[in-house]
Subunit: 117 residues, 2 copies
DNA sequence: ATAATATATGCCGTTACAGGAATGTGTCAA
DNA sequence: TTGACACATTCCTGTAACGGCATATATTAT
């Protein structure tokens, strides 16, 4: 068989750095395509194509006014990604706060104090 | 240009559903490849290849014991993804806790209080 | 040394997909 | 209507991801 089916989910959408950049830009508020083109410094078709992908996945929505099309971020579509990654949170938080580690060391010290006086 | 390499960063690595499944499985503890093969139901080369990608990005580490190779999850490598997605958290939490909605209603009430006494 | 086991790797075919260039579509202005 | 503007879409090309299959490599067992 060939490649796996193109499951167009948010995970795939944000795998592309440029699409993440688009989302970051739109986090500041809705913008017409041309503003994005100027702000990001890419060609207009490139911007439009990435916007099309983001819209398909539901990460952005579009509102037309005259000949301009305003794209707006729909951050809620990132929740599945957030929820998935969050299930792994314990793998770095336990290292950062060090509470558990310190507590355990204390316990070890206390045990050695009592057993080896 | 082609697509970005999957071994480039965790974002690309977890874009593949099968690789996410591998990480979920390894969250329960380290496992040799054959156990993963049986548990996941894929061919051995497929499992090995995905493990190779995950290892390149640093999402898993490997320990050899005899002829078995135990793969262990390194969840910390997911932190960049978590941190990035977290910056968009307000886009769905504000709807859930209703902070924004309540604040806006308050503003409307105050406006109507002053303008329409 | 030979066989069996555990895993990695190389090759191949198919398909995805990013970017460039050109063109299509729809809307406003004169 | 004609032209300018804003944007989408199509065609093309190069690169590489995925999976299957076969094979290589390394370790243990006999």
């Amino acid at each position: 068989m060939a490649r796996a089916a193109t499951t167009l989910d948010p995970f795939n959408a944000i795998a592309e750095p440029k699409r993440r950049k688009v989302l970051e830009t739109l986090a500041g508020g809705e913008q017409p395509v041309n503003d994005l083109v100027e702000c990001l410094g890419w060609s207009q078709p490139v911007v439009s194509k990435h916007l099309a992908v983001l819209k398909e996945v539901g990460l952005v929505s579009m509102r037309q006014h005259g000949r301009q099309r305003f794209y707006r971020l729909n951050g809620e579509a990132l929740k599945p990604v957030h929820d998935w990654v969050k299930t792994f949170e314990r793998f770095w938080t336990t290292h950062l706060d060090g509470i558990k580690t310190r507590a355990e060391r204390k316990q070890r010290e206390q045990r050695s104090n009592t057993s080896v006086p």
